[in-house]
Assembly symmetry: C2
Homo-oligomer: 548 residues x 2
């Protein structure tokens, strides 16, 4: 095969995709644009750039260089934004510590990520005090303080953030690096085991920013543009606040960082700073709408990406009634995160609120470059008929290439060369995906998917049933078959045959996959629960999974 | 330095940026969207994808593989669009032949690009007949025919495009390649010498598409979105029709390919197909507006990128009066091409037409990732004061890495690690660039730029002057100084001193750089012209450039 790589000229600049590239346009076009912290502190993009250079000098003075890891414990702040840029721009890795983890888990992630420097908001000193003697890798501590006085602490700091920046030089010539160096790391908590580390390269973050902006810009509603005012309401420590601070900065819009999420403060910021673009999980939206202050504030025109969990139609309609232009965005820690948006077409925008809400609550259409597939157990792509369900697998230029130092879990994540989202979904003819289950909640019977959640719902409708949990049990002939663990109502009695017949009626009406007739039933006294009272399928599978 | 490249998992997919990636979303979201050729032929994106696969098979059957070059001679067509995708998607290089070159120049580019296969519209057979005996590299010829019958020809074809596609299989599993392989090549004609070949990798075309879409989507006006209907009016053989067919396809919009540019046909397509987004050079716009049919057609809401040459304010205002939303886009063959857009802010959209036209005619603001600098002769960046003029140099992820097989010209293009646009420009505080000259038209006096065009304009205002041309001549003390070659009006007489005084008055009023006082004047009988009657600065520099 002849060499067809493009010829290079000695002097030609072979442009690497680096975090610093995101700053070229706003530095030139929007130097006077504002960045606001908690409504009380504000500066311009010009100052952001200067402080990014100062921070780069301050870190370099401490000996931080390419390949070192700088960890941050903070709420959403302008200082965090400065770290989003300065840390990767000197070739170091930014570890965004999830401050909601237990102190033991935080210690685990600091050790696991091999953090060299730790920047910590004084609010989190009590956490740090609990684990300080056991941190092995961190050489330097920097404190971030919003109060007049630093709280009493036994930790020795190498400096206070603002003082270090003040002392640091204002110029810094950011070098080029291989675009594939690691820029960020953070930890995602599964239902079992210790948190797992995911990681993203500078190239991946730049491509994610471009892809998201191209998708958000060209939409018919909820579009992100240069006149918007941006405020994150998913934390910066969680998947880079969905990568949106990078997108917002590249676009050069006004940005508002709210610190800790306190409902009335968030609402006040939306009103006073005229916030027009945000993103949050359904729980936060619910909390904001129910807050007494919410009624006093005009929320109309507020564009809101909802993700992290499925949004209920009721919540969606309630928000729409307040004039909020909300839609689903889908992704996960492993995917940087954004893969899809549930934008509506102009025709869909003519539909009733109820019909619109159905679409706004879908998972959405994939954004540019995202190769999203719904496949069966043989990895064959399923038809886009809005009913064939399969596992959602994906390729995109911004997916974690594995879990940090966890080869086995990495291989499982990427089995067959596609990232396994662990979600079960279907897709309609216009490309709108809808997630219906987690794969761990489905049972593969003769290669067909049965939703354990759906089957539980059907069985629970029977008057004799008090409680039910469905799991898959291995079966020689069918691969798996469903097993229902049933607690009967006091005084009721029912046989396996009667319950099977009850389920078959749903199958006969086409409301559920016909493989449900392979159901086995086991009557139990109680169903095992986790410490927080949720049905523990993990325990149930251990206990009954191999029962014939 | 510790290795900080991201760890890879064996099974993880390391996503290359390939042309095929642009098709992922529209294939899923817009399978029924239309593509129209000359208003008479139309099909869906679903068919586009099928025909791209068929074409890939047809070419593979001919023995075309990675690294081979496939050349196309056609007007703007759906077939050309199919080649835009299928050729790079099998790893081959697409050579878009400029059909406006002379047959000898076309022969030169075919030889120089080492074309293996040539697809030619039957309309261009007369050109091919003239050079056919002298084409050395082409092994296969394919004819594209819109007529009922193929015109008489002595050339032996390996097939007719539609017949080949009909015979070809409909499935093709497009493999992955290194994203840095060459995807396209075309030739740019300078004022001297033979055409020079530029080239772009698959990665560069993908990044250009994303960057352009992110910029066009987030603008306050003239934005490109999913409901638009796109029609190119800069040829597909010229810088990939500004890369817009790739952008439009990624977005999944309706596309209209007009064939040869015939004014009344173009106007008819705009009206009948409801075209809302196009791009053209000022000359075409002028031609369309002056066409008698234009008055009958509602052009309001037509978004139009104007590039290739500076647009006059008069033309801009005239188009605005017809309701056209037009703005400048800037770039060149060497830059893929797009670097800037002259979009207006909402506040600017409130200005009068005259004031708006001033901005719409500017070069514009750089699009994401574009590092555009205006520098002095020492490569120091100049202040953004809307008056400091310097050379426009650029870095972006989509610039040609050189001229094909022309090491010397490549090094000149990339001297110092920045691509030299050859344009002289200034920039204002909001980042809007305005090009004022070509570098070859400026004279560097003591490190300061003097515009020869401006100086010619001033001298021409003197009543005794019939014609004037200004060039730079080498000067030991000043580096260069301006020399005016002046033809006097019959019966007039004037001295060097008088003309110098005339020029100095403009300098004293601050209307021109004070270095103009170093002007030397030489009175001549006639000023040398090119064959087409333009002043030949090349001849003048040869003749007078070293005159003391």
């Amino acid at each position: 095969m002849p060499d067809s790589s493009i010829p290079r000229t000695t002097s030609a600049y072979d442009y690497p995709l680096l975090i610093k590239s995101l700053l070229f346009c706003p530095a030139v076009d929007a130097p006077e644009q504002e960045i606001v912290y908690r409504g009380s502190f504000r500066y311009t993009y010009r100052t952001l750039h200067e402080r990014v250079r100062r921070l780069a000098n301050a870190l370099t003075n401490l000996g931080v260089g390419p390949g070192d890891t700088v960890a941050v414990m903070d709420w959403d702040s302008h200082r965090y934004l400065e770290c989003f840029f300065a840390v990767p721009m000197i070739g170091a890795v930014l570890h965004t510590i999830n401050v909601r983890l237990s102190p033991e888990q935080i210690l685990y992630t600091i050790d696991h990520a091999e953090d060299d420097v730790l920047l910590v908001n004084s609010e989190f000193l009590p956490i740090l005090e609990q684990i300080r003697g056991r941190i092995d890798t961190v050489k330097n501590y920097i404190v971030l303080n919003d109060e007049d006085k630093l709280p009493a602490t036994t930790i020795t700091f190498d400096g206070e953030y603002e003082a270090l920046l003040k002392e640091a030089a204002t110029t810094f010539d950011f070098p080029d690096f291989d675009e594939n160096i690691r820029a960020t790391t953070f930890y995602t908590t599964g239902t079992t085991g210790m948190p797992k580390g995911v990681y993203f390269s500078q190239r991946q973050l730049v491509l994610h920013s471009l892809g998201v902006l191209a998708a958000l810009g060209t939409a018919s509603h909820g579009r992100f543009h240069r006149q918007d005012v941006y405020m994150p309401i998913t934390p910066m420590f969680h998947v880079h606040a969905w990568g949106m601070p990078y997108v917002a900065t590249m676009l050069g819009v006004k940005q508002v960082y709210p610190g800790r999420y306190v409902p009335d403060h968030l609402l006040e910021l939306v009103e006073k700073e005229k916030v027009t673009f945000s993103h949050c999980v359904p729980t936060i939206l619910h909390m904001l709408l129910k807050h007494p202050h919410a009624q006093r504030i005009d929320l109309s025109g507020w564009k809101l990406i909802i993700g992290g969990a499925a949004m209920s139609r009721t919540l969606c309609i309630e928000a729409m009634q307040r004039g909020i232009d909300l839609f689903t965005g889908y992704g996960m820690s492993e995917t940087c995160p954004i893969l899809t948006f549930a934008h509506l077409t102009p025709e869909m925008l003519e539909l009733s609120s109820e019909e619109q809400a159905l679409i706004r609550c879908k998972t959405g259409q994939s954004i540019p470059l995202v190769d999203l597939r719904i496949v069966d157990s043989e990895h064959r792509e399923l038809p886009r008929d809005n009913s064939s369900k399969g596992e959602l697998v994906v390729r995109a230029p911004w997916l974690t290439q594995g879990y940090l130092k966890d080869h086995k879990a990495s291989e499982r994540l990427w089995e067959g060369g596609y990232l396994h989202t662990g979600d079960v979904a279907m897709r309609d003819q216009r490309g709108y995906v809808k997630i219906t289950d987690r794969t761990k909640d489905v049972i593969k019977v003769a290669g067909e998917w049965i939703s354990s959640l759906e089957l539980e719902d059907i069985i629970a409708h029977h008057p004799a049933v008090a409680e039910v949990a469905v799991i898959g049990v291995t079966d020689e002939k069918w691969g798996e078959r469903p097993l229902a663990l049933v607690v009967l109502r006091p005084g009721s009695s029912v046989t396996e045959k009667i319950l099977s017949h009850h389920v078959r009626e749903y199958a006969d009406r086409g409301q559920v996959n016909k493989q449900v007739v392979l159901l086995r039933v086991r009557f139990v006294e109680a169903i095992d629960k986790t410490s927080v009272g949720k049905i523990s399928k993990v325990i149930l599978r251990e206990k009954y999974g191999s029962v014939p």
